[in-house]
């Protein structure tokens, strides 16, 4: 009887384990976009956003475009911010989020993974005013189906503490070269996607490598980028993925220069000018973000209302100004508090963006169109980055 009891127990465990291991949620295939019309059903949406994109007054009581939305629509909004696209993908795949502001290096992974649903743009009146060159881009449109509305775009800037880094830098060399004046106080972005920043620097300093797209790296080019990162490591104080931690470190002086977002510089300069931020001569990586809807959302009406709200000219202007980026809605330019905002952020130009390389997910098929070589896919970037960080 003793042995029998244990056999039953063993069978129970085995069955339970197989059940747990074998169950997985199937991806939503072929779920077409919401036909609409958008109703006034109240609901709650959990929003995954880059910091600064969905401000609800908790950072600064005067900066809030979430509460007006809640009051006008009766939808409740919970905002969760993340620090890297990898974190965004992880949270989205974990379930429970309805809307996400995805960068190009997350959007396709989520679309192909079945985590997002196509968006019916007819249900979003403000979409018509979006800049044409942001519509139907490869990172938010697949096989002719749109998956979201653009939020804004920007470059990852080189930020430096005024007075601590002399002369004021105009080139990325201050974070890469061993003789950097800021040695020991440099920071870099703590994500595998930062390898592309190394590639951008190599495009300017080692043209013989032939890199034309920092996300399309064959093995030789990739190894060169990893070597550059290894060369940089002794200069680094900390790698950053949490923008608030970054702000604290700059304020305390442990970091004086490194890649950053304009919103970080804006917060640091809030009371008095402490940092400068520039797009260096070599160009920079950047992002063009899209608001997208989860394939498993239970508050589809609120989700569509949010998408329409966030690209309203007025709200888009507020968000773009707070974050420090070029807005997506062409009518937002007239509504920014600083009348030169769109000029400052090159929202209506094309030249500025020619050496800004928007985040996208590297694949084995080279994204620059080369067919004679295989490029390194993002999974390998992650492996190499993990190995590199633990050397």
């Amino acid at each position: 009887m003793r042995v029998g009891k244990h056999r039953k127990l063993a069978a129970l465990i085995a069955a339970g384990t197989l059940l747990l291991a074998g169950c997985s949620s199937s991806s939503d295939e072929g779920s077409g976009a919401y036909a609409g019309p958008v109703k006034d059903t109240p609901g709650t949406i959990n929003v995954l956003a880059w910091p600064g994109y969905a401000e609800d007054g908790s950072t600064d009581p005067n900066v809030d475009w979430v509460t007006p939305f809640e009051e006008a629509t009766g939808c409740t909004v919970n905002v969760k911010t993340y620090g890297t696209s990898d974190e965004a993908v992880q949270l989205m795949q974990g379930g429970g989020y309805d809307v996400i502001s995805a960068s190009g290096d997350a959007s396709l992974r989520l679309i192909y993974g079945g985590d997002l649903q196509p968006v019916n743009l007819d249900l979003i009146p403000n979409y018509v005013d979006i800049f044409d060159n942001l519509k139907d881009r490869p990172w938010n449109t697949v096989d002719g189906e749109n998956y979201g509305v653009p939020h804004g775009r920007g470059a990852n800037v080189l930020q430096y503490t005024i007075g601590k880094v002399n002369p004021a830098p105009t080139s990325w060399s201050v974070v890469w070269e061993p003789n950097s004046p800021a040695k020991g106080k440099v920071t870099a972005y703590d994500s595998a996607i930062y390898i592309a920043d190394a590639a951008v620097y190599l495009m300017a300093t080692k043209p013989e490598l032939g890199i034309t797209d920092p996300y399309a790296l064959d093995q030789t080019q990739f190894d060169a980028a990893m070597a550059l990162l290894a060369q940089q490591k002794p200069l680094i104080a900390e790698y950053w993925a949490d923008y608030t931690k970054y702000i604290g470190a700059v304020q305390s002086g442990s970091i004086t220069v490194g890649t950053s977002w304009q919103v970080i510089a804006n917060v640091l300069n809030g009371e008095k000018a402490t940092v400068g931020a520039v797009k260096p001569v070599e160009g920079a990586t950047g992002w063009s973000d899209t608001w997208m809807i989860s394939s498993k959302t239970e508050a589809i009406d609120c989700a569509y209302k949010w998408l329409n709200h966030i690209i309203t000219p007025d709200v888009n202007a507020q968000a773009a100004e707070w974050f420090g980026e070029a807005p997506a809605n062409s009518k937002a330019c007239a509504l920014t508090a600083n009348k030169d905002h769109c000029k400052l952020y090159h929202a209506e130009e094309t030249d500025y963006w020619s050496n800004v390389y928007y985040w996208k997910t590297p694949t084995e098929e080279c994204l620059d169109g080369r067919t004679d070589v295989m490029c390194v896919p993002y999974a390998e970037w992650v492996k190499a980055w993990s190995s590199f960080r633990n050397q």
Partner: protein, 262 residues
């Protein structure tokens, strides 16, 4: 043991250094909760009670504290029941595989929290489809069971079976024996174990980050989200300082209880 005065003084000095080490960062936390400088550079620049008044009206804190309290209460309740059952079984009976089972009940706190966290996350996201409030409770209850088990098992080991057998010899049935004899004797261990379990659940961050659903903000998660924000960091210090002050008395009383022995 007779110790020389020099030895006693050395030990006293070590005690003093030890307690200084323990309380220095906490003192810093309390000081910074009154600091006008938000970046906590030392020395502090000025005194203000602004952060305390802001913390008092902050809704986020109240919701987070509520959620943490409820989570901890449920997890502790589950742990008290399951942990004491297991403690009774393992310390008072001999059965096949007892040593292995005993080892099993140590694993949840002996294995790193991150492993528990990602294991539960993997199962919850694949099995339930998403994380919720209950996924947090399940995670917490799992290691709380161990804490209660340890405390109650230690008590049972010191008790032995004599009193229980005497009671039953005198005619009481098993349930009455438990109610009138065994339970009063292990009650202190249950309280101590329960308090420790409550405290662990209340402050737990590692497993919680992997098992908390969207919008499920426990206090440690709230702290994590606000820890580095320049405008919120001082308020976080206020919360921590308040926690320290609030917890001193219950801890003291639980220690008085468990010290009641012979």
């Amino acid at each position: 043991m007779k110790l020389s005065r020099a030895a006693k003084r050395t030990l006293l000095a070590i005690m003093a250094i030890g307690f200084t080490f323990i309380y220095l960062p906490l003192l810093l936390v309390v000081i910074n909760s009154f600091n006008t400088n938000k970046s906590f550079a030392w020395p502090p620049t000025g005194f203000t009670t602004e952060w305390w008044s802001k913390a008092a009206v902050n809704e986020g804190i109240r919701d987070a504290v509520m959620r943490s309290v409820i989570t901890a209460l449920i997890a502790t309740t589950i742990a008290l029941i399951l942990g004491s059952l297991a403690a009774a079984a393992i310390t008072r009976y001999d059965f096949f595989g007892r040593d292995t089972v005993s080892l099993l009940f140590v694993l949840p706190i002996a294995l790193p929290g991150i492993v528990t966290g990602i294991a539960l996350n993997n199962v919850f996201t694949n099995f339930f489809g998403k994380l919720t409030f209950f996924t947090i409770v399940i995670g917490h209850a799992t290691f709380c069971i161990v804490v209660v088990f340890n405390n109650v098992a230690a008590r049972y080991r010191r008790l032995g079976m004599n009193l229980q057998e005497a009671s039953m010899d005198l005619g009481a049935n098993r349930f009455t024996t438990f109610r009138l004899v065994t339970f009063p004797l292990i009650r202190n261990a249950l309280v101590a174990g329960g308090l420790l379990a409550f405290g662990l659940s209340f402050d737990e961050i590692i497993v919680t980050t992997f098992t908390a659903g969207a919008g499920q903000t426990t206090l440690p998660i709230w702290i994590f989200q606000n820890l580095f924000r320049p405008n919120q960091a001082p308020i976080v210090n206020v919360v921590a300082a308040a926690l320290i002050l609030v917890s001193i008395l219950p801890i003291y009383f639980s220690q008085r209880l468990t010290a009641d022995k012979e």
